[in-house]
């Protein structure tokens, strides 16, 4: 029997699937957030140089990582939507943008909170901070362009093109650490062993997993709303149990 790989690329079928998947991501996300924060704030030892202040990294690092990855994923969906003309891909890109912007904002905010005690300044014009700020601008530009075009088809395609052009900027963000000599500390997690305590590592990875799961759950929930909004004039939407109430 041939498998239809594209079954869930239609909003009609994906709507139901997304609804079923959300709890599978949302509940583990909540559990992992609780566990990760507990390990991070109660179990992990005090850092020798940074004292208690370092604990903000358990939120800061996962949100920075996610803000960058989500942009690439968004651009990927946008490219799929442009190339194959699939409506759902464009809806996914639109659904990812606010979550990505949120993570970029959290990353900047927690970075500022960490910078004040460690560097003595809320904001330092260092390459990584600046790149993260530019990333936030790119997200906001994507959202603004999408919001200001009334025709959903043109909005999808125009913002998709913008996302692809903007994704050229994401590698620059990543390599900026190497390009410019900056204040920001280099990566501590390397493939050849790390300089971190085990409990710190555990907390970091658990928080990272929690952020991923949260992002997926929220994006699925948002894409369901977008599908409902876009397809509100179709028969299948009006036959949904939640539409009949």
């Amino acid at each position: 029997m041939a498998i239809n790989w594209f079954k869930y690329s239609a909003p009609t079928t994906f709507y139901g699937l997304a609804g079923k998947l959300i709890p599978w991501f949302a509940i583990p996300a909540a559990v992992l957030f609780a566990v990760g924060l507990y390990i991070g704030f109660a179990v992990a030892p005090v850092d020798a140089q940074q004292g208690e202040f370092y604990r903000i990294i358990f939120i800061h690092v996962p949100s920075s990582i996610l803000s960058m990855f989500l942009y690439l994923i968004m651009a990927g969906y946008a490219a799929l939507g442009l190339i194959f003309n699939t409506r759902l891909s464009a809806m996914m890109a639109t659904a990812i943008a606010p979550t990505g912007a949120l993570f970029a904002f959290i990353s900047l905010w927690t970075g500022a909170l960490w910078g004040k005690p460690m560097w003595g300044a809320w904001w330092v014009w260092d390459a990584r901070l600046t790149s993260e700020l530019i990333l936030l601008f790119l997200y906001l530009g994507f959202i603004a362009l999408h919001a200001s075009i009334d025709d959903p088809r043109r909005a999808d395609r125009a913002s998709a093109l913008l996302a692809i052009v903007g994704s050229v900027n994401v590698p620059i963000i990543y390599f900026s650490v190497k390009w410019w000599n900056t204040l920001h500390q280099g990566s501590t997690i390397k493939f050849t062993g790390t300089s971190m305590h085990v409990a710190m590592q555990q907390a970091m990875f658990i928080m990272l997993a929690a952020c991923w799961l949260y992002a997926i759950a929220v994006v699925l929930a948002r894409v369901r709303s977008i599908i409902l909004e876009r397809e509100r004039n179709t028969v299948w939407i009006n036959e949904l149990p939640e539409a009949k109430q």
Binding site: G141, L145, S148, L161, L162
Partner: protein, 230 residues
């Protein structure tokens, strides 16, 4: 055959550039407004931060570059809008010639009208900020390499926001973040020279950006125009 095709492509490019330049010369006020805006923004900085020459000298490159960035945003709205409103753009898209080539012609004309005057005006403004001759030379060279990139990257934004309400502000929101590398390398070159280093690496990177933009942006802008005109 291929030779004829190439010559017709070049001919097309020259034709579009000449047409846009003639149109711009008929409406000279638009060109001058951009230039006056540039001069005015630059002149506001000493009034804002104080007349100390040592500080102004340090700030000069950054101020000139930011002002150039802002004034190039101002003129971008006009890149396609007039042709869009009177239907010329639609005819251009129906033409058998490559749309990317037409777009490239419009970009070059736009740079000659809005970028080149800024480059020519920059030395005078640089002297107002008491820039040393060598730094001034590098600044001009950087602007010469960088302002075409602003026109070309900006064209993508102009094509995407074609015919939208509040297009001008939206355009800046989309394009300014993408232009930041140009700003960084442009001012970096001047800073390198003022600290006694070579500006070659920054200028090379600017040149690389220019080549990249020259290769990719006409095509991307053409795609954006197709999306906007559907």
């Amino acid at each position: 055959m291929t030779d004829m095709k190439r010559s017709s492509m070049l001919g097309l490019l020259v034709l579009v550039i000449r047409r846009d330049l003639v149109l711009a010369m008929r409406r000279r006020a638009d060109v001058l407004t951009t230039l006056i805006f540039f001069v005015m923004v630059v002149s506001l900085f000493p009034l804002g931060v104080g007349p100390e020459m040592s500080m102004l000298r340090k700030m000069a490159a950054g101020v000139l570059w930011v002002a150039a960035l802002l004034s190039s945003m101002l003129s971008l709205g006009r890149l396609f809008s007039a042709d869009y409103l009177d239907g010329t753009l639609e005819q251009m898209m129906l033409a058998p010639q490559s749309l990317s080539m037409l777009v490239l012609g419009k970009m070059v004309a736009h740079w000659m009208v809005s970028g080149l005057p800024l480059v020519l005006m920059a030395p005078v403004l640089g002297l107002q900020f008491d820039m040393p001759a060598q730094a001034l030379g590098v600044l001009i060279l950087g602007l010469l390499l960088g302002t075409p990139v602003l026109s070309m990257v900006g064209a993508i934004g102009a094509a995407l926001t074609l015919g939208l309400r509040g297009g001008g502000v939206l355009l800046s929101l989309l394009v300014l973040p993408l232009c930041i590398p140009v700003l960084i390398f442009g001012t970096g070159a001047v800073e390198a020279v003022s600290t006694g280093l070579s500006a070659a690496s920054h200028l090379s990177l600017l040149g690389a950006l220019l080549v990249l933009a020259l290769v990719f942006t006409p095509w991307v802008t053409a795609q954006a125009l197709r999306i906007s005109m559907e």
